[in-house]
């Protein structure tokens, strides 16, 4: 499954696709959830929620493949 299909599936509510998207962006989320070098679980949860919101609200760019 390529990224566009995965994103589309997640936007349609496929939980497995959402979980895969979160796993894909886990390193970014872990990095941003660190406070003074320590992973803040509450912040991490909030950022995961924000990621799911971003998935739902993102509009894929319309590109014609050359």
């Amino acid at each position: 499954m390529d990224f566009r299909d995965l994103l589309h599936a997640a936007q349609c509510g496929d939980r497995i696709a959402c979980a895969q998207m979160l796993k894909l962006y886990a390193p970014l989320l872990e990095r941003e959830a660190k406070v003074d070098g320590v992973l803040d679980q509450e912040l991490y949860s909030e950022l995961c929620e924000e990621t799911l919101r971003a998935i739902l609200q993102f509009k894929s760019p319309e590109v014609t493949e050359q």
Partner: protein
Amino acid sequence: MQFRNDGCGIDNITRNAFTAYLKLRIERKRRDILAKRARRELHEIGTDFDTFDVSGPEECDPAKICGSDPVTWHNDRLVRAFAALDERERYILTARVLDERGFDEIGGVLGMTYKGTASAYYRVIGKLRDMMKE
């Protein structure tokens, strides 16, 4: 190991666009959450009352009592006033204000009547108020 893509192809373009969009949202959310926490911490007082010293207000250092940088405690008068209360007064105040317990329940623990507990509570409030005016 994941490598950055070359940005070619609709899939990579979509992926890069989403990643950039997500990064921006995550950074903003993080900033907002940490700013909100910092604002809340300015107004909170610790509830570790066992560390309070009862030897007298002039010997009470808010930093020593609350175990943190004194610069962050903006209401050190309240901390000193609280530390000057005796154990019973502190219990009545914290049980009523923080645990929201009734006077009869508090009185049951201390062996007092409802009226006695209520009077003691309002005396403590008045005492704190007077000490903070000094």
